[in-house]
């Protein structure tokens, strides 16, 4: 099977610091791929490189074989890469209904229309309501997003990425800060994604990682340290050493 997402020798330097160091990743179509590593390992930087928020110092990014290294973020979304943010990035003054409706109408290329009223296209409303319902947001769809409880905002954060109908979904710590009781809502939503959607997950909670991923990459100091199936990574003594906070001993 051809890889859906591929990076070749990805390097990102900020001044003298190398945040991403020669990362070559291959993600297969439909994979559930987890990216783990200690704080400051450069996980979010990789997401920012993949989505175009940052440009790599050197290296290339391929989406289904096409070089997207120099494409703007919005173009990558149109090609099917969507992401969530570790810290909520929402439109606080809009309602969840407007937020999801916006993403749906942008995807259907209706977003530039200025002569038509919001709420006049049934396809957009029906799909938005379906997504809101799926993420338990239908009862608050007309509330101001900034006033919603954190758990609901977190669900909206993920629903908004799903509304872009991605082929590749990048989840940056989706359950971060969510109370235990509400976590299953988010995890269920992620688990219910269609099988052909490729998901890359950044997560600190190892229970979530091992119940979700079929492949794990471990990042340390910006570089790819270990990659493999979950059981292999779990057994790897070097990974244990990193997570126990010991210095990496090169053998």
């Amino acid at each position: 099977m051809a890889p859906v997402l591929e990076t070749k020798g990805l390097v990102k330097e900020f001044g003298g610091i190398t945040a991403t160091n020669d990362v070559s990743l291959t993600v297969q179509k439909g994979a559930r791929h987890a990216l783990i590593g200690p704080n400051g390992a450069g996980k979010t930087t990789i997401i920012n490189l993949l989505t175009g928020v940052l440009r790599p110092t050197t290296g290339t990014i391929l989406l289904e074989g096409r070089d997207i290294t120099s494409l703007d973020p919005h173009k990558r979304v149109q090609l099917g890469i969507a992401r969530t943010f570790q810290i909520n990035q929402l439109f606080n003054d809009m309602t969840p209904l407007e937020t999801i409706g916006l993403a749906v109408s942008e995807r259907l290329e209706l977003g530039g229309q200025w002569w038509r009223l919001v709420g006049s296209k049934s396809v957009v409303i029906e799909e938005s309501v379906e997504i809101l319902d799926r993420f338990h947001l239908a009862d608050v769809m007309d509330h101001r997003t900034g006033d919603l409880p954190y758990g609901k905002q977190r669900l909206l954060e993920i629903a908004l990425a799903i509304a872009c109908k991605p082929n590749v979904l990048l989840l940056d710590e989706p359950a971060a800060g969510v109370p235990e009781a509400e976590r299953h809502d988010i995890l269920d939503a992620v688990a219910a994604l269609p099988k052909d959607v490729t998901v890359m997950l950044i997560e600190h909670d190892m229970d979530i990682v091992f119940s979700f991923a079929d492949r794990i990459s471990v990042l340390v100091n910006g570089g790819l340290f270990v990659e493999g199936p979950p059981d292999e990574v779990a057994r790897d003594p070097r990974v244990k050493a990193v997570y126990l906070g010991e210095e990496v001993v090169h053998g």
Binding site: Q89, L102, S122, V129
Partner: protein, 381 residues
């Protein structure tokens, strides 16, 4: 439509409710058009208000809906004013409505070109860039022979509007013409902000990072709204030239850009009426104070602004008025007024937390009372 699930119908209702006309809006426009017949002696200042309102509406489109700050919005106002003047003076387009539209298109072209300067950078860089553009244009108008230099464009003679309505010395034609233009452009702006494009602007203003992460080309949306707003400002400038049959360098003045920003902040951004209400208040207060207190009126205007920032729009305006009326009633000299006012502002400033508690309680009571009245009204209806 009848096949809709209840929740879909409910969602459609929520979305469409934003664009529904409220009683306040209907009353606002009835009063505006009634002024054509009932305030005939005030048509000159009303024309100024309508033109200023259109200019402020233009700034609201970029500031209130897209979050672009500008201290040089007079660039487009002035450009439209000079284009309209030149078109009339040289008889290129004689009919005023067509000339006004042409001036708007010219300002849009200028807006499109300069919009690329405001795409990048912080609010501060945007303030500097917009200010710079207006200064450059002012200097060009000052140096060129065709624009008349420091003397301005003189000898403009306007043909009748649509070939029928000649500009009269009482300013009735000019007022009706300006008000109708304002109303039509307001309707268009109202449509724009309630469209998917308008929604995307709000998202760009709220969080440009996320807007681009859901596939929105942030830059193109900003260029589009900046261009539209420039057209609005240009038409406002053209109206001023046509109504006064004169265009001077003052159309590019920094004060004009600063005033329109003040007006929008007084009236409130992001709901289209802020600029209109702000213009009415600003012009009336300016006109009244300048008559009563010709030398020092800006002192009192400054007091109103400071109080509004400290205690909110309504309470701040009320407190400033009380201080002003007190000084007037006590027949204080200007120096005495200044001293009393500064002491009053300092005391009020120190007591700000306590005062804010009281005002928020009053607001809650007023809201509850209003809800009660509404409920009663609904029951009886």
């Amino acid at each position: 439509m009848s096949m809709d699930k209840p929740i879909v119908a409910q969602a459609r209702g929520y979305l469409l409710s934003r664009a529904r006309w409220s009683p306040f809006e209907i009353i606002f426009w009835i009063v505006a058009f009634a002024s054509i017949f009932f305030l005939q002696s005030k048509h000159l200042i009303l024309t100024e208000i309508a033109i200023l309102g259109l200019f402020a509406l233009s700034l609201d489109l970029i500031l209130g809906y897209a979050g672009i700050v500008s201290l040089g919005h007079a660039a487009f106002f002035g450009f439209g004013a000079y284009v309209a003047g030149l078109l009339a003076k040289h008889g290129i387009i004689k009919e005023p409505v067509l000339a006004m539209l042409a001036s708007g298109v010219a300002a849009m072209a200028l807006g499109f070109v300069t919009s690329f300067l405001v795409l990048r950078g912080s609010d501060l860089t945007r303030l500097m860039v917009t200010l710079g553009v207006a200064l450059v244009l002012r200097e060009i108008a000052n140096r060129l022979d065709i624009t008349g230099g420091a003397d301005g464009l003189q000898g403009i003679v306007m043909e009748p509007v649509l070939g029928h309505f000649a500009f009269d010395i009482f300013g009735k034609t000019a007022y009706v013409y300006s008000l109708v233009t304002l109303f039509i452009l307001f309707l268009v702006a109202r449509r724009i902000v309630n469209s998917p494009f308008g929604l995307s602007l709000r998202s760009v203003k709220g969080n440009p990072l996320r807007a681009s992460a859901i596939g929105i080309n942030v830059n193109i949306r900003l260029v589009a709204v900046y261009t539209i707003a420039a057209g609005y400002a240009g038409i406002a400038g053209a109206l001023l030239t046509q109504a006064t049959q004169f265009a001077s360098l003052s159309v590019f003045d920094f004060e004009r850009s600063a005033d329109v920003m003040l007006i929008l902040i007084i009236g409130g951004t992001g709901y289209l009426y802020g600029g209109l209400i702000g213009s009415v208040l600003f012009k009336l207060v300016q006109d009244y104070l300048a008559n009563v207190n010709p030398q020092y009126w800006q002192f009192w205007l400054g007091l109103v602004l400071v109080m509004m920032i400290m205690f909110g729009r309504v309470y701040g305006a009320v407190m400033a008025t009380i201080i002003y009326v007190a000084c007037l009633a006590l027949k204080l000299s200007f120096m005495q007024s200044i001293i009393i006012t500064i002491i009053a502002v300092a005391v009020l400033g120190l007591m700000r937390p306590q005062i804010l508690q009281i005002t928020s309680r009053i607001t809650e009571r007023a809201k509850a009372a209003l809800d009660g009245v509404k409920a009663k009204f609904r029951r009886s209806a």
